[in-house]
Symmetry: C2
Subunit: 66 residues, 2 copies
DNA sequence: ACAAAATGTAAAACATACTTTACTTTTAGT
DNA sequence: ACTAAAAGTAAAGTATGTTTTACATTTTGT
């Protein structure tokens, strides 16, 4: 699972901590997802996309093997 | 988390088992998600939406408390 | 009404997301 | 160079998604 979180954060100019707060998870969770360490729940993926004003598919992309 | 899986399946006229096969999970998993018993992973949500030719947000909807 | 297909359900085992606490490393601003 | 903020990392614990096996109930077609 790939994602654009870093880019979208840069556009909004917000930190991982700020995004975490906006979607109600911990900073470590955002960090891990942003780095592709694991795949979020659909709930969190939708909240993150919504925080960026984007569709889930515009922020996350399935890869071979997902 | 609400979803339209039943409706989308009806449009394609496929069973839970057929959808399960198309997105590579068990029939019980589709059943549980369709009935709202739990929220899928982002991976599975994206595969299901893709199976229907829809965006994740067109198939799943966040509710209060999610 | 009957048979077959589809759906619902449940418990145990397993896999993975998420939190908490705490520490290290990198980046940005002065 | 110094400091503060931001990002990276890690281990243990908790919560939840997914599978497997198995059976019960409902729906559909003839």
């Amino acid at each position: 699972m790939k994602n654009n979180i870093r880019v979208e954060r840069a556009i909004l100019n917000i930190s991982q901590a700020e995004l975490a707060e906006r979607v109600q998870v911990t900073r470590q969770t955002i960090n891990a997802i942003e780095l592709g360490k694991y795949v979020p729940s659909a709930t969190l993926a939708m909240k993150i996309a919504r925080a960026f004003g984007k569709k889930v598919e515009e922020v996350f992309e399935l890869e071979e093997g997902d």
